[in-house]
């Protein structure tokens, strides 16, 4: 099996090369197919790997290609490693990725940069695969940066629009702030354990006692990296802005795969996280706050993609809470189901936008269920899944998180349950406003309403089936059925599970389950009343007042950041510009003319030079150095 590993990332890379180099010379019909087939190939190999990993629980495939670099005692191999954790991620990336590629063939059909789009998409898949398959932290970091870059390229795909470029830049820079943390964490890991290979670091870490300060520092730094990539407070604002990209991109990168990289990383390093004090609690709190904040903001957004974006942020918060309480497999379970239903919802949104001719404001939609039957049905399934109603996928994973959270802290459970109720509210609001009631768009749009082509509806149907049934891979214990995914992933978190074995009794679990369900139903009923019975339409922006305004304004986080970070930074560089460039240099002296004249070289025409001052500054620097070195 080892010999097959390289095929998985190389196929998308070949696709990237073909589409990237030949560009528009590749026939339009072909470039989408090439890209999709490349990912499908990866999926098939991943499936083979998955099956062969089913047997032995300690089995993992490692394949070393060459020594990447070797300095002093640091030796890094270019090597892939696939264990059970990786294989799950591989299936999600290539499986959902393939569907989104197929969808894109239809969605991007009229775009003139068709092949460039697929080239980027394939490149993204390549880096994502690198991220999950790398056998050491550096390789993971390469993938980590690579997906960030691709996300930047794809957000700014329609580069003709300046706002989109700004969104792209924001995403990139926020990600870089996170990367700073990751990088420092990596350095510290190396300093502590003398290696960056997963195997060596983690087996070495197991010998450490619980609560070493260095572990806390490492894990906090790594978590900063995860904050950036997985859009957690305070680095979450880029994700909603990232919706500027084409919708399949939002589905693939900003819902199903890239943003879950942070979760993958923490699960991968679960040994370190389990052994550190403070970090897990910190993660849980941040995750909880993010889940709540984003859910609140989601209540008042009217852009179909923005709602989904905030719901993604919120769901990622759920996953981090799970990680924080040590429920690593549960978090990953939610990653999988989330990939299904959030991918589905985004693709549906894309289909709606496609039908509406680019309109994204839900206040101008309504009553689309008749015209877009497939989209409507699949969207409903997605909504039910994300809201967490049985037997859809979200129910199982979210319930598992809630139960695990309750075991460690009841008040946290309460807050998270509130977030999950809010999720149901804004999702059903979105669903009702978009698909029920009267059509509120222009006449022109109404005439052109149409169901999307099969290449777009096919992925919708497949994902809808997965969203509906996907949850059964992780049935709660109370139903006395095997929890497949948690068993499959058990070896990965073997070490950690021995540490945090807190469980709730079956009775409590049932109570929790039923009470959440009740709350959900009440909430949905309430939303149904408001938007379907009373046909309420979200008010226009200028009429929003009070707390609603704060919500619609996204808690003004962006403005706060501008005020706290951007302004001072600009001021500093402006100050430097003023003082050093113009003030100090120009102000003290206004030209070299003196020097020039004195030397009489006939280049007297240069009046603007400032050489005298430059020399002046150099002498002062020289004096400063001598004073520092000899007198202090």
């Amino acid at each position: 099996m080892e010999s097959l590993l390289w095929i998985i990332p190389v196929l998308p890379f070949i696709g990237f090369l073909i589409n990237g180099i030949f560009g528009n010379k590749v026939p339009r019909s072909l470039s989408g197919i090439i890209a999709s087939v490349a990912v499908l190939g990866g999926f098939i190999v991943s499936l083979l790997l998955f099956i062969s990993l089913l047997g032995d629980e300690n089995l993992s495939f490692t394949s070393k290609y060459f020594t990447w670099f070797h300095v002093g005692d640091l030796k890094l191999d270019m090597a892939f490693m696939v264990d059970r954790l990786t294989s799950v991620m591989l299936l999600v990336i290539t499986g959902v990725g393939f569907l989104i590629h197929v969808y894109s063939i239809g969605y991007m059909h009229d775009d003139k940069d068709y092949s460039r789009f697929f080239a980027y998409l394939n490149l993204f898949v390549f880096f994502m695969l690198l991220l999950v398959m790398g056998s050491n932290y550096v390789l993971m970091f390469v993938g980590w940066e690579g997906v960030g870059l691709c996300s930047y390229l794809l957000i700014g795909f329609w580069f003709t629009n300046n706002n989109f470029n700004d969104a792209a830049k924001k995403a990139f820079i926020m990600n870089r702030i996170g990367d700073l943390g990751f990088l420092l964490g990596m350095f510290l890991i190396y300093q502590t354990f003398g290696s960056l290979n997963f195997d060596e670091v983690h087996s070495n870490a197991m010998t450490y006692a619980y609560g070493q300060p260095v572990l806390t520092t490492i894990t906090l730094l790594l978590f900063v990296g995860a904050m950036g990539k997985s859009a957690q407070i305070p680095l979450f604002t880029w994700l909603p802005d990232a919706m500027a990209g084409p919708t399949p991109v939002s589905a693939l990168i900003h819902a199903a795969t890239m943003v879950t990289a942070g979760i993958y990383m923490i699960v991968r390093a679960n040994v370190l996280f389990t052994l550190s004090v403070f970090t897990p609690e910190f993660i849980a709190v941040i995750g909880l706050l993010t889940a709540l904040l984003a859910a609140f903001i989601g209540l008042k957004q009217n852009d179909i993609k923005k709602v989904l974006a905030y719901s993604t942020v919120s769901q990622l918060g759920f996953m981090f809470v799970a990680l924080g309480v040590g429920a690593y497999t549960t978090a990953l379970f939610h990653v999988v189901t989330h990939a299904f239903f959030k991918g589905l919802l985004f693709l549906c949104a894309g289909s709606v936008i496609h039908a509406m001719g680019g309109e994204q404001d839900i206040r101008k939609m309504g009553g689309l269920s008749a015209k877009l039957p497939v989209t409507h049905l699949t969207f409903l399934i997605g909504t039910l899944a994300i809201a967490g109603l049985p037997p859809f996928a979200g129910f199982f994973s979210k319930d598992e998180i809630l139960v695990k959270v309750f075991a460690s802290s009841p008040w946290m459970y309460g807050a998270l349950a509130l977030a999950s109720v809010l999720t149901a509210i804004y999702m059903f609001r979105l669903y009702f406003v978009t698909f029920k009631g009267q059509f509120r768009g222009s006449h022109h749009q109404e005439e052109h309403l149409h169901e999307s082509p099969p290449s777009m509806t096919f992925p919708l149907i497949v994902l809808a089936i997965l969203s509906a049934l996907g949850g059964f891979i992780g049935i709660p214990e109370i139903f006395h059925a095997p929890n497949l995914i948690s068993e499959y992933l058990a070896p990965v978190t073997h070490f950690s599970s021995s540490y945090s074995a807190r469980a709730v009794s079956h009775e409590t679990e049932i109570i929790l389950l039923v009470s959440t369900l009740l709350f959900l139903l009440v909430a949905i009923w309430f939303v149904y009343n408001k938007y379907v019975k009373r046909q309420a339409i979200p008010e226009p922006d200028e009429d929003i007042a009070g707390f609603g305004k704060t919500l619609a304004g996204k808690f003004y986080v962006d403005e706060i950041y501008t005020y706290l970070i951007e302004k001072p930074l600009n001021a500093i560089s402006g100050l430097g510009y003023k003082f050093i460039e113009t003030g100090l240099i120009k102000g003290v002296v206004d030209g070299t003319a003196q020097v020039v004249g004195a030397l009489g070289l006939g280049i007297r025409t240069i009046q603007t030079g400032k050489t005298g001052t430059y020399l002046f500054a150099m002498v002062i620097a020289l004096i400063a150095f001598m004073v520092i070195k000899f007198m202090i």
């Binding site: 003290v588 002296v589 030209g591 003319a593 003196q594 004249g597 004195a598 009489g600 006939g602 005298g612 002046f616 002498v619 002062i620 020289l622 004096i623 001598m626 004073v627 000899f630 007198m631």
Partner: protein, 164 residues
């Protein structure tokens, strides 16, 4: 005796060097510079480097400075065309220069100048011994400095050539 000579020569060379910078007329500056070179040649002689002293006078004072004089005279530079330097610059330069001086003195004050006094040999500075060192031990730098001069020459021709 040579002690007194050293102090006189040092005073003169510092004085003339200062005057190069301070005098208003470019021609005076050049003349002071020539004088400065002479005093330095005097130092060379004190250091028993007669050949170097002679070469120094011939090349610098004789050839280069005369060329400078010509150029300055041809360009007709004089005090009136000299742009006026604001007082603040003069003040700043004096302060900075003074600071540099103070700092250097402070660093050298503690420095016990390592005096290595080899046996006195009056032939040391003559052409013969210099030539032996130059063409034996310092053969390569001597050759490489040819490259330096060559590049300076090519550069000068290029800058000086009239554009057609």
């Amino acid at each position: 005796m040579s002690n007194y000579l050293f102090y006189i020569l040092s005073f003169l060379s510092i004085f003339s060097a200062l005057m190069v910078v301070l005098s208003r007329k470019p021609v005076h500056s050049v003349l002071y510079l020539i004088f400065c070179f002479f005093t330095i040649a005097g130092h060379y002689i004190l250091l028993n480097a007669q050949f170097l002293a002679a070469v120094h006078i011939i090349v610098y004072a004789g050839a280069i400075m005369v060329l400078f004089l010509f150029v300055i005279m041809l360009l007709n530079l004089n005090a009136e065309t000299e742009p006026h330097k604001p007082l603040i610059i003069k003040g700043a330069s004096v302060v900075t220069g003074g600071m540099l001086l103070v700092v250097l003195i402070a660093t050298f004050k503690s420095a016990a100048m390592s005096v290595s006094s080899p046996e006195f040999n009056s032939d040391l500075g003559m052409v013969e011994s210099l030539g032996k060192v130059l063409y034996d031990q310092y053969m390569l730098p001597f050759e490489v400095s040819a490259l330096l001069f060559l590049s300076a020459m090519v550069g000068a021709t290029m800058i000086g050539k009239k554009e057609i």
